[in-house]
Amino acid sequence: MATNWEKSLRVFSVPKRDDTPNEDRWGASADGRIIAISDGASVSFDSATWAEIICRRFVSDPAITPEWVQSAATEYRAAYDREAMPWMQQGAFDRGSFGTLLGAIFSETCESVRVLAVGDSVFALFDRARCIQVIPCMQPADFDLSPNLLSTNPVENAFITAEFIASVCHDLSLTELEEPHFLFMTDALGRWFIEGPDAERLSALLAIQSAEEFSELIERERSEGRMKRDDTTLIVMG
């Protein structure tokens, strides 16, 4: 199935505040078939670095296993000299860094996509204006709960088993779709999107063509109390 939508990848991201670093990261393979987004958690030693490692590794090797996560965490820990840190940084380093992983792997023919969702970053598939699937399936109140997150601390990753990974993978067929759009959103935007209304908010996101337009939309929604102030990232494909 020949499509052009996989070529049209648009990415927008704004930090929580102008004076704080953005801890969201994203990645995509050169052919656009593998996409990853990771939201680094605030209560972390260095969640930006962790989110970057997660995205880079997923794009180069999307076959997630418990060993994959362990290897990523080993790379993270090797970047620091724990013994040279003052006690408070040692404590924070030992506690770990945390991040979501929302990844998608399109088949070579683009007739299907596998979506993997660990945490509360949100994937949405629309065909024209019709919602086909939102992953993970969340109610707005669910965003107030503590999500499962990938961690640099091995003890915190005990829940990552082969069974868990299978449970967060979703295979979607794309063959019947006429004009699909794929959205990848970190949680503040994901919650805003799920709170709806669908068509209006989809239209607003698809209309964005520049970083300035994205920034204006996010700031307006934040200041009017409709969107939580947090690092906010959107990937649009299609």
């Binding site: 958690a41 209560v43 030693f45 260095d46 620091y80 006690w87 404590g91 107030d144 503590s146 091995p154």
Partner: protein, 279 residues
Amino acid sequence: MTYSAEISRDNPTCILFVIDQSGSMDEKMATNKSKAAFVADVLNKTIYTLVTNCTKSDGVRNYFDIGVIGYGGNGVGPGLGGRLSGSIISPITEVANSPLRVEDRTQLQDNGAGDVLERRIKFPVWFDPTSAGGTPMCDGLKKAAEAIVAWADSHPNSYPPTILHVTDGVSTDGDPEAIASALKQISTNDGECLVFNIHVSTQQGETIQFPSSDLGLSDSYAKLLFRMSSEFPPHVSKIAIDKGYKLSDGARGFMFNADPKDIANFFDIGTRPRLTADR
């Protein structure tokens, strides 16, 4: 909606510990440590956790202002010593940089692969146990009220202050209920001050854990401490429920006859206001 303000460097929140340092706090608990020593240890660990939760690779972020008041035979005053002894409440960056000392300890840690390894850690100490004399609880809570009024006035948009009061006995300087009521009415735009009370004990007996009414309390002192305690906001109730406590609607931040495990849980539950969606 109350208790929903974002906790940030521009709008930190305040956590104030009010600690009974009366003579009876030297009684030994089942752990063979005195109540004073056990509470000091939990307090130091709690401050350590608060500091490390605010620490990133580029430094400590001022999400909290922290204070300790001690009351006992030596009077009432700031519970943190050294460079922090000049004020009741200090920004967490100052607290992080000013422990009394940093001890070297070893800790057994699970490496996630089924092995338990011994790891060297640094354990900062801010608060040393003291136990002497009577229980000037009213003076202690008045000192807390003075500090919290000033803090709330200068932080009108912050998540309201949380006060954790630890005691093992009855006040010897009057009835503290009116002062506790006044404390609970101090507020920011995000809600009223939260006052949580824990009674620590070496007695074997029924432990009361986060009740929603005083109907089941036979001890008049327990009823008093219950009335002095604030209701949990919903997200704090959830933390307590996740720890295995059974809570009804209207559950208050109050424990009576608490044992060592409950003391540690009380401190953890009471010092986790929203940081950012609990992550």
